[in-house]
């Protein structure tokens, strides 16, 4: 499928998803006024009716969806009910925070994971060690690892902050170290395993023997010949992880009290904030699809047979 056709496909999918998300959110139990009712004993039946009309909740779901879609086409994404701010004023900073956290964690995971995978493939005696480390990384719950890191580096040694975000004048990177380590350690396992498996396969291919026969060094063979061929499955994995870059990491964000997309989406869904939840979910879906498209294009560039 051509690139323009894929882009059209993405747009149509997003349109369909917006409808599905809106209906699902609308069908979830309780609406904002139901929540307000339990909080405020003074609300009378007349208050409820007035507030439902004020929030447009007295209209059928499909009419609300059409009104929302019409406003979006005019560039009005609405207000967040939870934070009393325009939706994009909230999504922007949360997205930036998630990109910083997950981008750094993913970068760390790819670098360390692929490096370890390659090392294990080139030095088979190290393979059990790397596989054992990958198994530990995959099995260790992020929440638990995060708490351990906080206790050691923030509470006991006092070297790094336990969470939150930098105040004006404070170095932001210090607040990223522990959450990035927590998240990156878990992600690293998948890259290490895939890199090990792909490199092992690539190192037994005939052209590697040819390269050795030509006298190429082991380093050159690994980096210039084996790695580009082993990279195809890794790029697929990276493409899938691209969606996670914007969907955030709700557990890590909660544990380290870091505002991000994961926490924002969770709060928006649980707090009945339709506008915010919809825009955030569509953003995640859109970036995931674009990430997949980019991964496909990269794979085709690396392996023309896939084109």
């Amino acid at each position: 499928m051509s690139i323009p056709a894929r882009l059209v496909q993405i747009l149509v999918t997003l349109l369909a998803l917006s409808c599905v998300f809106y209906l699902l959110l609308g069908l979830m139990p309780g609406d904002p006024i139901d929540l307000a009712l339990t909080l405020d004993p003074r609300l009378t039946p007349a208050d409820v009716e007035r507030l439902r009309a004020l929030h447009g909740l007295d209209r059928p779901l499909w009419a609300r969806y059409l009104a929302w879609a019409g406003a979006v086409l005019r560039g009005d994404f609405g207000y967040s009910r939870l934070f009393a701010q325009p939706v994009f004023a909230l999504v922007g900073p949360a997205l930036w925070s998630s990109l910083q956290l997950l981008g750094a964690a993913l970068g760390l995971a790819v670098l360390v994971g692929v490096g370890l995978g390659m090392l294990a493939a080139l030095r088979p005696r190290l393979s059990p060690l790397v596989q054992g480390l990958a198994a530990i990384a995959q099995a260790m719950p992020g929440f638990w690892l995060g708490i351990l890191l906080i206790i050691l580096f923030a509470v006991t040694l006092g070297m790094l902050p336990a969470g939150g975000v930098a105040e004006a004048g404070e170095p932001g990177w210090r607040f990223l170290v522990l959450p990035v380590a927590t998240l990156g350690f878990g992600h690293m396992a998948a890259y290490a395993r895939h890199a090990l498996s792909a490199m092992r396969g690539a190192m037994t291919d005939p052209w590697i023997r040819s390269a050795r026969a030509r006298g190429a060094s082991e380093g050159r063979i690994a980096l210039a010949h084996a790695l580009p061929n082993a990279a195809v499955p890794l790029i697929t994995l990276l493409g899938l992880d691209a969606g996670a870059l914007v969907s955030g990491a709700v557990i890590t964000e909660t544990l380290f009290a870091r505002p991000g997309m994961g926490k924002l989406i969770f709060d928006a869904v649980m707090g009945n904030d339709y506008n915010l939840a919809l825009v955030a979910l569509l953003l995640v879906a859109g970036v995931t699809m674009l990430g997949n498209l980019a991964a496909d294009l990269a794979q085709r560039a690396l392996d023309p047979r896939l084109a």
Partner: protein
């Protein structure tokens, strides 16, 4: 030699930071306010943060007495500032006069006047503004400016708590009136409190908002226009950390100076922290008005039998629950009225743990032990009840497990069925879809008449848009009369017997099973003085100018 050098270096690094910390106070709370507008939505986090930056007209003080914050004198019939009169439609009403304190100014230097109160009333009275509960604005049918500091309002009813203005407070008319007039319907989203919260003119307390990080924190700095006692701290940072483990970690790592009791650590976590931290922090436990209880559903034929409800109470060892799960730091409840409330009746019926009595009541009600230990009635129906609460609330889930085990001893099976708070409150409870028992908490003000949770008119039904909070579906003609009579009985002495009777009916009929009144755990650094926890809806931050670093 290495150790002293290291210690010296650490000291060098720490000294300026510690000095700085005395200028600033960083507070951790577990919730972020959804809006900073004082009159829109009720939320504990908003009350706490705004306590630093603005003051309501009246509030309940830490000793639970009603006091003036922005006004000079509380109106009473005796001082002539409250006058009984008849409304235009012939009902008994009141005329109240409030005079603002001298020297009140908004943060931009503009004097606070009666016009600001008039504007707040006008905006609230316009239904399209959407201020939530409109009860006060409906009742206050007229407001007049007498002079720049005095207003006169007329209420269409006479209630004993008439002097309490609740959430009603001045709004800066010089800034907000134009925004409201431009589009009353969208005022909720256009208000400067949310679009430009750092505008000094919005704030009138000892501090004003200087920075907002949505979802994570609000920073406040001294308000130079404040005419009261000068606050000690240059800056107050309120940080939201929803997870209490993370909140505790940030406190221990020194990122937070204190954790507010109003929205902080559960009491058992605070007690554990106190033991571990060994004198690093001061923990003060303040008994409060948060009432943990279990609502019954009286439409369930099993629970409709009062003997079963009483047996449920007798078979619960609440004293042991409090001792073992909460370090003994909650107050066992005997009714819905807190023992600290001036209207609490110490002679109210109590339910000490008494398994024999519970068994006798169940036998009398026709429930006999079955082969598996669970009781059955003559028709063979098992004595099984759903027991619901908010999923993810660790304290409640622990209590729930213990309760289920205790009831099993009496042959009652509790089937645990928890739901996320959103579903539990907004759908199950508000539509009375709980089939058996539902555990949650109420928070109230001192001497708060529980009309919405006990009057038969307040049973949520589709016909009344599911408003009202009488989730058990309790109907009692005498209780209804008491709930109607109490608010209009002005003399405290005359109210006392009514309150006693209310508590007696509650304890006898048990529409809800009283568990305990929660305590707030306030965690302060050793160097902080002057914080006065209240235990009710008005937070300690309303007296933040008294906070001092030792």
């Amino acid at each position: 030699m290495r150790a002293p050098i290291l210690a010296f270096a650490t000291l060098l690094a720490a000294t300026p930071a510690m000095a700085q910390q005395r200028e600033t106070l960083t507070i951790g709370i577990t919730q972020y306010p959804s809006t900073l507008h004082p009159n829109i939505e009720n939320m504990a986090a908003k009350s706490y943060v705004l306590g630093f930056a603005r003051r309501p007209l009246t509030a309940y003080a830490p000793d639970w007495s009603l006091v003036c914050l922005q006004c000079e004198t509380l109106p009473t019939i005796e001082n002539g500032l409250a006058v009984r009169e008849t409304t235009p439609d012939g009902r008994p009403g009141l005329r109240l006069t409030y005079r603002l304190r001298e020297g009140l100014r908004w943060g931009d230097g503009t004097p606070m006047t009666a016009e600001d109160l008039l504007f707040a009333w006008q905006a609230g009275r316009d239904e399209s503004t959407g201020f939530g509960a409109a009860e006060f604005y409906r009742s206050a049918y007229e407001m007049r400016v007498i002079d720049p500091r005095t207003i006169e309002m007329r209420l269409d009813k006479v209630t004993f708590d008439f002097a309490s203005m609740g959430d009603f407070q001045p709004l800066p008319a010089h800034l907000e009136r134009a925004v409201w007039q431009a589009d009353p319907r969208n005022y909720r989203t256009r208000t400067l409190y949310d679009t430009a919260p750092t505008n000094p003119g919005l704030w009138s307390g000892p501090y004003r908002v200087s920075a907002v990080q949505p979802g994570s924190g609000i920073t406040l700095v001294r308000n130079d226009a404040w005419s009261g006692q000068a606050p000690a701290f240059r800056e107050i940072r309120v940080r939201t950390v929803e997870n209490t483990t993370a909140l505790e970690a940030q406190l221990l790592s020194g990122q937070l100076d204190m954790i507010a009791g109003e929205l902080g650590l559960p009491v058992e976590q605070a007690a554990a922290l106190e033991r571990r931290a060994r004198g690093r922090f001061r923990v003060e436990y303040r008994p409060g008005l948060i009432y943990e209880h279990v609502d019954t559903n009286l439409d369930n034929p099993i629970l409709a039998d009062r003997r079963v409800r009483q047996a449920l109470m007798y078979s619960l060892d609440r004293a042991r629950i409090v001792a073992q799960l909460f370090d003994g730091r909650q107050t066992v409840a005997n009714s819905n009225v807190n023992p600290l409330d001036q209207m609490a009746d110490p002679a109210v019926r109590q339910y000490p743990y008494d398994l024999a009595r519970a068994t006798a009541l169940l036998e009398e009600a026709g429930w006999r032990p079955g082969p598996d230990g669970i009781r059955r009635n003559e028709a063979g129906q098992r004595l099984t009840l759903d027991l619901m609460t908010t999923a993810g609330n660790r304290s409640r889930e622990q209590v729930q497990q213990v309760m289920a085990a205790m009831w099993r001893q009496a042959g009652i099976e509790a089937r645990i069925r928890n739901e996320p708070p959103r579903v539990f409150f907004a759908e199950t409870l508000s539509r009375r879809r709980h089939q058996g028992l539902a555990m949650y908490a109420w928070i109230s003000a001192p001497e708060s008449v529980p009309r919405s949770s006990l009057h038969s008119d307040e049973i949520p039904t589709a016909a009344r848009n599911f408003s009202g909070q009488n989730y058990p579906g309790f109907r009692n003609a005498e209780m209804d009369r008491l709930l109607e009579q109490l608010p209009i009985t002005l003399s405290p002495e005359a109210r006392r017997p009514l309150w006693s009777r209310l508590q007696a009916i509650y304890a006898e009929e048990l529409p809800s099973l009283p568990l305990y009144f929660r305590q707030d755990a306030h965690v302060w650094p050793q160097w902080l003085d002057g914080v006065r926890p209240t235990g009710h809806l008005n937070p300690s931050s309303l007296w933040a100018e008294e906070w001092r670093a030792r």
